[in-house]
Symmetry: D2
Subunit: 423 residues, 4 copies
Amino acid sequence: MRFMTVTSLGECPYDSPLTHYVSDEVLVPAGIEWTRGQVPLDLQLFEKAGPRAKLYFDPKQVRAGIVTCGGLCPGLNNVIRSLVYGLHHQYGVKEVLGFRDGYRGLDPQRGEEPIPLTLDLVDDIHEEGGTILGTSRGPVDTKTAVDNLIRLEIDALFTVGGDGTQRGAKSLYEEAMRREYPLAVVGVPKTIDNDVHFVARTFGFSTAVEAAREVIANAHTEAHSVHNGVSVVKLMGRHAGFIAATATVASQDVNFCLIPESPFVLNGDGGFLAALQRRLVARRHAVIVVAEGAGQDLIPGETGAVDASGNAKLEDIGKFLCDEITKCFKAQELEVVVRYFDPSYQIRSRPANSDDAVLCDRFARGAVHAAMAGKTGMIVGLLHGELVHVPIGLPVQSRKEVKMDGDLWHGVLACTGQPAQFA
Amino acid sequence: MRFMTVTSLGECPYDSPLTHYVSDEVLVPAGIEWTRGQVPLDLQLFEKAGPRAKLYFDPKQVRAGIVTCGGLCPGLNNVIRSLVYGLHHQYGVKEVLGFRDGYRGLDPQRGEEPIPLTLDLVDDIHEEGGTILGTSRGPVDTKTAVDNLIRLEIDALFTVGGDGTQRGAKSLYEEAMRREYPLAVVGVPKTIDNDVHFVARTFGFSTAVEAAREVIANAHTEAHSVHNGVSVVKLMGRHAGFIAATATVASQDVNFCLIPESPFVLNGDGGFLAALQRRLVARRHAVIVVAEGAGQDLIPGETGAVDASGNAKLEDIGKFLCDEITKCFKAQELEVVVRYFDPSYQIRSRPANSDDAVLCDRFARGAVHAAMAGKTGMIVGLLHGELVHVPIGLPVQSRKEVKMDGDLWHGVLACTGQPAQFA
Amino acid sequence: MRFMTVTSLGECPYDSPLTHYVSDEVLVPAGIEWTRGQVPLDLQLFEKAGPRAKLYFDPKQVRAGIVTCGGLCPGLNNVIRSLVYGLHHQYGVKEVLGFRDGYRGLDPQRGEEPIPLTLDLVDDIHEEGGTILGTSRGPVDTKTAVDNLIRLEIDALFTVGGDGTQRGAKSLYEEAMRREYPLAVVGVPKTIDNDVHFVARTFGFSTAVEAAREVIANAHTEAHSVHNGVSVVKLMGRHAGFIAATATVASQDVNFCLIPESPFVLNGDGGFLAALQRRLVARRHAVIVVAEGAGQDLIPGETGAVDASGNAKLEDIGKFLCDEITKCFKAQELEVVVRYFDPSYQIRSRPANSDDAVLCDRFARGAVHAAMAGKTGMIVGLLHGELVHVPIGLPVQSRKEVKMDGDLWHGVLACTGQPAQFA
Amino acid sequence: MRFMTVTSLGECPYDSPLTHYVSDEVLVPAGIEWTRGQVPLDLQLFEKAGPRAKLYFDPKQVRAGIVTCGGLCPGLNNVIRSLVYGLHHQYGVKEVLGFRDGYRGLDPQRGEEPIPLTLDLVDDIHEEGGTILGTSRGPVDTKTAVDNLIRLEIDALFTVGGDGTQRGAKSLYEEAMRREYPLAVVGVPKTIDNDVHFVARTFGFSTAVEAAREVIANAHTEAHSVHNGVSVVKLMGRHAGFIAATATVASQDVNFCLIPESPFVLNGDGGFLAALQRRLVARRHAVIVVAEGAGQDLIPGETGAVDASGNAKLEDIGKFLCDEITKCFKAQELEVVVRYFDPSYQIRSRPANSDDAVLCDRFARGAVHAAMAGKTGMIVGLLHGELVHVPIGLPVQSRKEVKMDGDLWHGVLACTGQPAQFA
């Protein structure tokens, strides 16, 4: 057994104002497949999240901070609101500051002043997409940020963001530890791509899939209404094709689903273009869904450029596919009508649907409980439906991917009828 | 360890046409909370669902049947479609019959002839609510039905329905066993209330919550726009308040959430009406969500009547609450404007949202794999995100309920601010 | 020619700050059907609405008031917002007061204090249904209200409401005239039923039809999924069946549409029940849409009671129909499954769709222009796409109805296939 | 008075099976603004559409054809369905052929065979976007098409399409006249841009505006959630900015609306970029809506290329604006985050909303009545809410535009706060 215990700031001298608790002794395993006759002995076990009986902080004295980073994702405002409500109503925390525009707002030189997050201010924000705090890409100087957090007397900092954000959060709590300043840094993982280990489903993912399915329906209508109509829909998914694959299964109207986990070739008998041609001959139209990170190896001139978050700048695989399809069929004098759909900004700016709203509320309450108990250097994870505490260091070592032998990908193959591989 | 092995029709002489398999030796535990330092030794373990390497039936010879029973639920057509597609495309099954109007359709005297379910017929049905097969409440005479199934040479029967339906399915496969007729009876659990054990989430539930949230938003607007506006929203939930509780957390606009698991009293200082009055004095409006099965003990003249499915006929708790509220505040000369919302038919007739569409597809493919491998007397379950085989007898012994000390109910208490109990 | 000139408060000494104007000499006729060879000579002609070059009030000195009355209707907040924006941005009016909870708010004894409507306060309100001012039914004592308006130094009062509201508005301006207090009373007609003369389309109507169509789709699914399913949908329409008829044409899934303008009988060969039976025998299911004011003569025990607005309390025709259908077919041993849909509160509490949002904005800007020019005792009307000034006295003399020989009703007959009359 | 009489095929010997009629003597004027004291004497007057008492064709012998051309538009399937239903149910026409893939389908050498449009086939098509007949751009050889129509014994051809389509329709009926073949050619005008004279609102426009408003909401969220966020939304509108302007008023969240009717300059103090900069300094974010045909004069390298329909290929003004904005602020070291939204395919492929569904039904029934009465060389128009017959030659002489001194544009200026001109 491997116990994935998270760091604690220290003793917990204060009684919780709540009436129910989860003990640190309750654990949830990462793996749940048993083989008949064998007791699994090498499981990773994580602390179950939830309120603790004893607190590290005196809630009445706590000043908390919240920061949202990176690209938009449905549910950011829900998380902000439930953090504020959880702190106020469940623990009696009076002061919550919202840092502006991502990590930039932790640096008083670069960002605007943080704003006090009152109950009134956050009352209706969960009905809207985006983040009322604003967001940005890119890191902050760790020393400057910790100086500022100490100056502002922040006890607990909630970092809502992706892996870059949580790496930054790790640096912040380590720097605070070094200075012996007791700072609880608790991350709420945010990735619309749903590619974080130990987080079965990230918030915003369900909303994104629903929105993607609507666009696929449009794409299907366009392709279906002309002779040899081909619609190409590019969806989010830099390293993992969860949105593309899940929306494909939800829609059942997709004929080809291309994701980063399953490399493909364009040309040759087993290639994608030949398969597309067979489809058009048989059925007169085709819908192609492609994750933005798929097929990057096919595009000449990849530059290695990175954005402010340090993510590699991707070539536009959707546009590339449209061009290749047009070129290929022109060469064969097969008339096609190619339409390109690139709806990412429309998808990620939506308000959270109910599934995500509930998830955001759970994550936020779990994060509040953890911080009040003095947990730090952790994110809230989700294993098999249970919230858990995950040390920040763990999940960033690799990314969760669509398994080629799992139920999701088999669902894709079943409903598209596409070959297991284009090779 | 307790192995929840399902019945098999016998040896599996045929090779599967698929290329990936799950072994019968892979198991999933029902419980996943460990206590630090202890290996859990008394877990219920279920076979993981999925394609098997060897089949009981020769797929080319198989004739399958599908029946949908009970009240409408988003996703019924998705299940039908994915069953047909899974049988056809994955196994090459050529004949699938759709029985009409629930169990009535298994009796040739009472029902219409079954219809052949072709790929063309089911192509677009997942975009619509309801069930193209029709449905009804109530049982069928077991002997008559089995006579008919044998006459029609049905090898595999997929029963889509609630606990009454699955009890009926159990009788069918037992009767077939008695006659030594190899009939695979595989159930797909259907309950919009989400109250089946070993099924973490039933299809249609997510769609129902989303639809309920929209009605709650309307109810909030109505209550908010008049002086002392009180909106009462009755939602599905005969024995379990999952829809009411989850929609409450998703909405965050509810002030009181009443479910069957948490009995309440109306009168007295700690009662519901006094709490409502305090709310109105403080905030001028209130939104109440009540599950249909809540507070049945409060309504005089409960009759013990049952419907065709054998379910107790419930008194209308929503209407009752409206009347009691009106009466109570009239007596106190407090002017209130009470509005009643009863949207159940509007909710359950919707098409499935993406989360449910994916779930329906998974359940249906899991059911097809199980039937082809000769599993019978089982339903497809869902534990911690994994599909499993559940013997039909198990889940019907009791119902899943909202746990009073669980995360969902704590989420409700946090966002409504209502007391843990009205007593 | 009959010129429907509205009352003016007097000379207009101030220059408008705007740059475009409509002259009082531009008129729009009520009737636009010409007969070949004849110039129509007896038309009612209305002033076209729009900004005037000269103003009665000095905008910088104006204090305006807004009140919303009666039942909810999509778009109320849009009207409030565009009134405030139009007054502020287009004319520089600094003070706008919002009276609370309908006419009750005009009486300082009965209502709460009015609230200052700032740009910030109204910024996002158009995205929500309901009215931020609150509403109520029933009149206010005219003298008390005018005392209060004079005390508050209100120059222009915008009354958003139905015919009762506008009758009240007429009394207010007449009382103010009597006292020689220059009060511009300009009404924005509000009736979700769309039954006001000289207003081709009232705001909220389009949204209501869209929402009604969705419920009809649900009702169709329910009816279609069981043997002899009958869905009854009751829609708004006390005196006029515009919503029922328009939603029927939009949906194309309705088999019977019953409205107040077309009385019907239940029994006998030509009656509604016999027609329903023929439909069920032929097609196994039926969808019935009924306007709330239809068939009132059929319901025994009509009481003559009225609500706070003076509207006759209607019997529940939907419930009555369900009971009669159940009774009738039970007597004939024809099994039917009857479902009742009563979605009015869900419909009227929605936010405005785009068509209504645009209409609200137009009405509000038209009302502002009229008030600044000193027009009073009028409502803003809409003739053939053009906004006009309508003296308050005119439209309340009768109600607009669905014409039995017009395009809308013929559309209903064409898509339902129902007989022109049940008799 | 100018009577815009449409061509008739000749005497009408047959009695209509309907029971209500509109006389050819009933006319509707194009203009409805009167000046006080003057009877307008130079009006264009159009025949009111509707059923005629006498028919040119014997309905039982009629064979009709339908063709849909050009880009997708919400409501095409509604029009097809209501044409088929109107012909069948109202007149007893038994045979309706659907030509495939636009005008190409009129040429047996180039297109697929037409399909018989039965009631069953069209039953549910109005719930889906696109066109079940397929569509294409570009003309057909007139002689070939008329040969084919005569060969197929088509009596009435319904051409659903834009101005190019209707010009083609004119050629078809003229060629048929030349050959003395009595062919009723009746057009249903289709332009999502809403830019056809004598058609107050084209079908699909309302749906497009609603969809555009949703994208604007997304764009607003994106812009609002980052520092100096600028969202650019390109909407349909080659020659007229109706969609852009109407969606701007509906949304109220747009800061700049650019349409073809209002040329603008980018640079200089009065230019667009300076105004944008002022907005960003004041408010930190901006939403720009631009019609695709706006600002074409600003883009270097305009090529004069045309598409298959003969429409000039437009440069991508949205992309161009994004580039210019980025360049401009980079030069000034003002950090901005520019996002581009190009949702046209997602908008036009939607199913019709209720307003459009009703309009499609009206247009289709009006077209059927006209054809049966032997009208030809006409389109169905809409003046002030009344359907009229419009000779095909008329509307194609110019395009309807957003009037700079009209209510719509003033609504845009009021809600954006943008200057009347960027110059």
